[in-house]
């Protein structure tokens, strides 16, 4: 039914989605907080640039990323100078692509959330001697739990489902850069509808189960919401 390549693809997809989500959170939590508090004039421009990956078709983003990651490209030269490897067709390349592509989906909900943390709550923590970092960790993050979960699930799911970008920069090498979304797409393209159905159903069931667990956990836990 499913080939070893398919299993490899599933494994790789989960690995990529998980890593991407982690990287995205690591980027977006601090940057979102910074954006939420910044009064810089340039802020709307930054926000617009972050939103850009939304408006370009994934394949096109993939194409431009490929251009940049190619050995002579901007990123490629930089990378080549630092490491003895090339980005395209590597896991790292895929990761970079996924992160850029999913960035707005994680950044925007987080920033939006951060903008709503009541200032006086942070002031209260400050009077108790909590430094900005301390406040961020002990007040901002716990109060943002729901949003972080929403943002992470958007990011994770989107990485699983994305395929234009990774197809382009990944090169679809089985066991290295072939992802489940591509395998599924291949089946459809190739009129192997039966296998496509199986893969799609598997993906959906997995996602539904994961998401249901996530959402029920999230709605059961009390005390995490600021405004009850």
């Amino acid at each position: 039914m499913l080939s070893t390549d398919d299993y490899l693809a599933i494994y790789l997809t989960l690995q990529l989605a998980a890593t991407t989500t982690v990287v995205l959170l690591l980027i977006c939590i601090p940057c979102g907080w910074w954006l939420a508090n910044s009064r810089w004039r340039i802020k709307p421009l930054l926000e617009a640039i972050i939103a850009l990956p939304l408006v370009l078709p994934p394949t096109v983003i993939g194409f431009y990323l490929l251009v940049m990651m190619a050995p002579q490209g901007v990123i490629g030269q930089l990378w080549g100078g630092l490491f003895d490897s090339t980005l395209p067709f590597s896991f790292t390349g895929l990761l970079i692509g996924s992160v850029i592509y999913s960035l707005p989906f994680v950044m925007q909900p987080l920033q939006n959330n951060f903008e709503r943390i009541p200032k006086d709550l942070l002031n209260a923590a400050a009077t108790m001697g909590a430094s900005p970092l301390d406040r961020f960790v002990t007040v901002v993050l716990p109060l943002s739990k729901t949003s972080i979960i929403t943002a992470a699930s958007l990011g994770f799911a989107h990485t699983i489902g994305e395929f234009g970008v990774v197809l382009m920069i990944g090169g679809n090498i089985p066991g290295e850069t072939q992802l489940i979304s591509i395998a599924l797409f291949d089946r459809v393209e190739n009129l192997q509808y039966q296998q496509a159905h199986i893969l799609a159903a598997g993906l959906m069931i997995f996602s539904v189960v994961t998401l249901v667990l996530l959402y029920s956990l999230n709605s059961n836990k009390r005390g995490g919401s600021i405004w009850k």
């Binding site: 490209g73 291949d186 009129l191």
Partner: protein, 236 residues
């Protein structure tokens, strides 16, 4: 009067070349929808309102015929696709090319995905013919032949197996020089591309005129100039 033509991506440049002449001759406007043959097949089998379908292979045209979605007897071969090797190095002999291929690192050789693209099957045949099956596993796969061209165009690979029909367009856009090495046709099966007129067409007459036009000697000449073999050249 207009015709909606679903055309496999690889043939779109050739068809666009022929389009003005056809429109001038017949006064019938062509509206081209290009996608991979697989996507077009899925759409047509679910009711897409096309008049003519130019597939990149035989299978999908045949499958539509089996489904009874085509005008009986309309399935015909309109061209044979050929492949070629391109390399960044000039003046390589065939043996040197084979050595280059066998020495290529992971991700330095690009071919189309045999599972989705007919050109991928041809590329696979070529590799077997040259005893390079092992290389196949570490080749970069474009999901269609156009993607293979992107890899070459961005210099992320060193060698690629491409559709010869795409070479002129490719050569126009690349900055770094690439070199074309035609491949002996005994190493792979040229890709027979078939067309069908769709049952649902409301303008079968015009569709037939397009088919006739494509199969005309003049058109075939143009098609051959685009890196295809003429439909009549091979008989099965």
């Amino acid at each position: 009067q207009s015709l909606r033509v679903a055309v496999a991506a690889n043939f779109k440049p050739a068809l666009e070349l022929l389009q003005p002449e056809f429109e001038r001759q017949t006064g019938i406007k062509l509206r081209l929808s290009a996608a991979s043959s697989g996507v077009l097949f899925a759409q047509i089998s679910h009711g897409a309102p096309f008049d003519v379908f130019l597939s990149a292979d035989v299978d999908r045209a045949e499958a539509l015929e089996t489904l009874g979605l085509v005008v009986a007897g309309s399935r015909q071969t309109y061209a044979f696709g050929t492949i070629a090797l391109i390399s960044k190095q000039a003046d390589r002999t065939q043996d040197e090319l084979i050595t280059d291929i066998s020495n290529s690192a992971v991700g330095r050789l690009a071919i189309a995905n045999p599972q989705t693209a007919p050109y991928g099957v041809a590329a696979q045949q070529l590799l077997s013919c040259w005893q390079q099956q092992a290389v196949f596993a570490r080749a970069v796969r474009g999901n269609n032949i156009a993607q293979v061209m992107h890899y070459a165009a961005t210099d992320t690979v060193d060698i690629a197996v491409i559709a010869q029909s795409l070479w002129p367009g490719f050569n126009r856009v690349v900055q770094q020089p690439w070199y074309l090495y035609p491949v002996p046709s005994d190493c792979y099966q040229p890709l027979e591309q078939q067309l069908v007129i769709l049952q649902s067409s409301r303008n079968t007459a015009a569709a037939k005129r397009l088919v006739a036009f494509l199969l005309s000697a003049e058109s075939q000449q143009v098609i051959a100039g685009q890196g295809y073999l003429q439909a009549q050249s091979q008989t099965r």
